[in-house]
Symmetry: C2
Subunit: 218 residues, 2 copies
DNA sequence: TAGATTGTTAATCGATTAACAATC
DNA sequence: TAGATTGTTAATCGATTAACAATC
């Protein structure tokens, strides 16, 4: 796993990878809060709701917002705005997806990505039949990938191809300018240092679930 | 961790969470190796292939195998067997899935889980029509969940329900004996301490991809 | 003011990496 | 034996937690 580089940041502070991973959970929790509820919330309340440490919550929030007020807490709406801004949920990133099998088509159809600022513009597959779509998104044959990716300046590639094809797909994407890869294939991808590969590691999740059962039931 | 049942059996050591996450990657890589290749492999070779540290690989492998031989390396087949044994890929765990939307049906249809020792026996959904299936697995109405889960002694629950329903589903599963939850819903789940909740956190992955782009393109 | 709650600096913990000894 | 490669003990690094000072 490669760490994100933190070299040149501007106004926004750098956050650790672990913090970055928790930020969507805060946003999620805050937006789900009933509208009529209190306009402020304490770190303690957030921590309890998300099963986190109180101090951890404060440190995390300090990295993205310009602070709460002692005795009062954080303004819910301000915090939501700060988190959304930090996570870039307002500007949309375009992405392509490669491998339109069941998982690929499910992701193409998933509307939730929109709210995270991700827009999958198209899927690609080796045997895409003319006019194929999923969730309203076109599925093109692989031949069209280089042109579309370069022309639309796509920076994010999602790989849902079979493991054997994943490295090849990764290479194809990155040679056409993709800088970040979201890999659902159970394969390690080798890419240049400036490319971020994020593995959605189902096997690892499963390993953790099963090890827990081993110890819970022994 | 379990001690060997008889004296000869090597006692499985405890592994850190981080190590556990990497184990499937080793297994994956080793099984993908061409059959005619060398029967032994060095930690260095594995490390290079998976972009890991050499020492890290050795430490990880030390936790699951009874060791390589200096100057020779690790026996590929032995290592595969040790990893599979440790990860429990031979004994099958049954699971149920709740929420038969697009993602849920995609997971129900995904054959890859079999090789990880996971068998999803059925899906459940609030509006499952009579006789519905996905990937050959039946999809039942929620009312049938308690009986089936308790009767088959299901210990793993997969949640692909909408965020609003996720907590309720979690409660339903755990009150019927489920001990490990694989949560794909973008919601934090509160569960008792003895329950493991593993979040497949798409929003967090996305956050990492986009932050990388921010810094890569600034 | 007193009490609650924030933010920061220091201590602890866990995981990775480095140094090195063991061994085939 | 010499060299490669393993395994272990020690040092470093990063993240979490604790202690405490600041402030509304």
């Amino acid at each position: 796993m490669r760490e994100g580089e933190d070299g040149m940041e501007k106004a926004e502070k750098t956050v650790s990878i672990q913090t970055l991973k928790r930020l969507p959970a805060y946003l999620n929790y805050l937006t789900a809060l009933p509208k009529d509820e209190n306009a402020n919330i304490s770190a303690k309340a957030i921590a309890e709701a998300l099963s986190l440490g109180e101090i951890q919550v404060r440190k995390d929030l300090a990295a993205v917002s310009d602070g709460g007020r002692p005795k009062v807490g954080y303004g819910v709406q301000t915090l939501i705005a700060d988190l959304e801004a930090f996570l870039g949920y307002h500007d949309v990133s375009d992405a392509v997806l490669v491998g339109a099998g069941k998982l690929g088509r499910a992701l193409l159809s998933y509307e939730g990505f929109q709210s995270y600022g991700l827009n999958i513009v198209a899927g690609f597959d080796t045997d895409a039949r003319e006019g194929a779509t999923a969730g309203g998104k076109p599925i093109f044959p692989m031949e069209k990938l280089p042109d579309l990716v370069t022309r639309l300046n796509i920076r994010i590639g999602i790989i849902t191809a079979p493991a054997e094809a994943a490295q090849e797909v990764c290479d194809l994407l990155t040679t056409n300018g993709v800088l970040a890869i979201w890999n659902f294939a159970p394969a390690h991808l080798n890419a240049q240092k400036n490319i971020l590969v994020r593995n959605e590691n189902m096997a690892a999740s499963l390993a953790m679930l099963r090890k827990h059962l081993d110890s819970a039931m022994q």
